[in-house]
Symmetry: C2
Subunit: 343 residues, 2 copies
């Protein structure tokens, strides 16, 4: 599954188990993370009981808190000693949770599949409105922080996320989409928040613009790598280990890099197949295994992970200017963690 042709920095940095890298990061900012979790629970409260109930469905369900962890570690790597980063990490998690709630709002066809997402349990409207609440609450927290620079970064990221999500909707079911469009989608929907999450670390620490930009580049490239791996995993048996279903993207006709590569490298008969299953959404039981076989044949999976490694390397390189410390090593480790999920 790894690309033997290219030995990358991410490979060299690779621990045998990516989870170790995440564990190391959590260990390093444990107190900050606990304070952040307290803020999250405290600030998702409302006299309207359904709001914390629905928010807890998603927030208590765990998740790795990857984005707030990045904010906490970035601030500490920059030598920050205060506690503003805790509140901002909570902001980042609120924005992420709001987008998850809105992502899961399904249209008619998706409803039939009846997943146990928040919208399946509480309904579409409640998911949308609680997402709006978390979004607004996140901005309230930023206003309490009082930095217009932080507000500018996170408001801008929020608008970019929405643009990325809409673009994803536009190119959905369209096999003539380009790799460039796909990259625009994941830079918007995923990488923009990673970039903002790490950039604010430099801002609270009052570091020079060059360091803020370096942390922005780290987060952005990490976010792209993360999403590439995610999109590869959607077609991987590894996914079952994570308690998710293989082929969700396939069934929705979502255009991701593994699909684009297999389509572009396929012969005419294969292109007819892809158009039927993704554009016309005429899918039968044997279609997913066939799709997986075509991806294997064209190295679509391997090459997607290869791209992820390349972006992971860029993320690590962006940290070059920072002095070596435990937080920097942990941020390098996060890149390992993201890529190692594919193994």
């Amino acid at each position: 599954m790894s690309s033997p042709a290219v030995q990358t920095r991410a490979d060299q940095a690779s621990a045998p188990n990516g989870e170790d890298a995440l564990t190391a990061l959590v260990g390093l900012v444990r107190e900050d993370l606990e304070a952040c979790n307290r803020q999250i629970v405290e600030r998702m409260q409302s006299p309207v009981a359904l709001i914390p109930q629905l928010a807890a469905h998603l927030i208590a369900a765990g998740g790795k808190r990857l984005r707030p962890l990045l904010t906490l570690a970035a601030a500490r790597m920059c030598g920050y000693r205060g506690d503003r980063h805790v509140r901002l990490a909570a902001c980042v998690e609120f924005i992420h949770t709001a987008t998850l709630l809105h992502d899961d709002v399904v249209d008619e066809s998706d409803l039939r599949r009846g997943r146990a997402s928040a919208n399946a349990v509480f309904g579409n409207q409640a998911s949308v409105l609680v997402g709006d609440f978390l979004f607004a609450r996140s901005f309230e927290l930023m206003v309490e922080d009082g930095s217009l620079e932080v507000l500018r970064i996170l408001c801008g990221a929020s608008a970019t996320i929405a643009e990325g999500e809409v673009l994803q909707l536009v190119i959905q079911n369209d096999t003539s989409s380009t790799e460039e469009q796909y990259l625009d989608v994941i830079e918007g929907k995923t990488a923009a928040l990673f970039a903002a999450a790490t950039r604010v670390g430099a801002v609270v620490a009052d570091r020079p613009v060059a360091e803020a930009e370096a942390l922005d580049a780290y987060g952005r490239n990490l976010g792209i790598a993360f999403q590439l791996v995610d999109d590869a995993l959607d077609y991987s048996a590894q996914q079952e280990k994570l308690g998710k279903t293989v082929g969700d993207d396939f069934r929705e006709g979502k255009i991701t890099l593994p699909v684009l590569l297999a389509f572009q490298r396929g012969d005419e008969a294969e292109k007819v197949f892809w158009r039927r299953v993704l554009e016309e959404k005429q899918q039968e039981e044997a279609d997913l295994p066939h799709a997986l076989a075509l991806m294997q044949k064209h190295q679509a999976f391997t090459d997607t992970i290869g791209r992820a490694r390349m972006y992971g390397d860029k993320a690590i390189a962006a940290l070059d200017g920072f002095p070596d410390n435990a937080e920097k090593r942990a941020l390098v480790g996060v890149v390992e963690f993201c890529i190692a999920r594919a193994h």
Copy 2:
């Protein structure tokens, strides 16, 4: 339709035609409004073409621009001579449009009715995501303005709107809801943005807190009156003049004051009727006319408008401390406009 028992300030102020009052307000801030409309069109742009397309569907479809008009007039009444209020009026309209888009996201049952709302034309997901974009863009505009006080007011209002909308969802189809819960809903979903829209007028003009609070009270009471009239109109033949459908709230089982009053004043047989149509949503063709007859019998409509007049009076009284000028007279006129819609 008017309540003859109580002669109110809003009655005394009433022009023969409420539209005249709105026309007067528009005339007074015409240049500001045109600048605001330019900002709206300019700032809803995005490289993702679907965003301005969908936004235009709602924003170009017109609407009265009532909320931005309030911001513009409030700032001018406070003697403000700059142009910050133009951008903030655009923010207010973006927040309003975002909430409209998210309101219209339908659950399965609503979809069958297939209205020509944005979500019917572009789909649920696009409506949610473009709403998110406008919401985020609105905050970006506020950050450009640079006042943390303005940000605090409008972020707070946004969270409150979401709380009001969720509460509305919670009490939907529940005939045991109280008038107090209903008031909480409309204070949240409608009045909070009216209050913020007018309050920021005092803030940009750098007026004392007492004036900001007076304008907040004006907007809040006006918003409550506006929503009460709206909820009455949903059961009124007047509604057809406005190109809307009578009985939308009825079909959704939405709990509004006309319904609550008719239910609470009804005998046991009537309560059985209301529970069947609103809680169990078992509705037949003759049910809406029957519901209208019950409302008539119990003066539910008349008394809803009576309450609206009371809040309209409070709105007008909140302006007492401001010196008489054309903008103040126009803001008084807006109260007339809102109430006169019921005639």
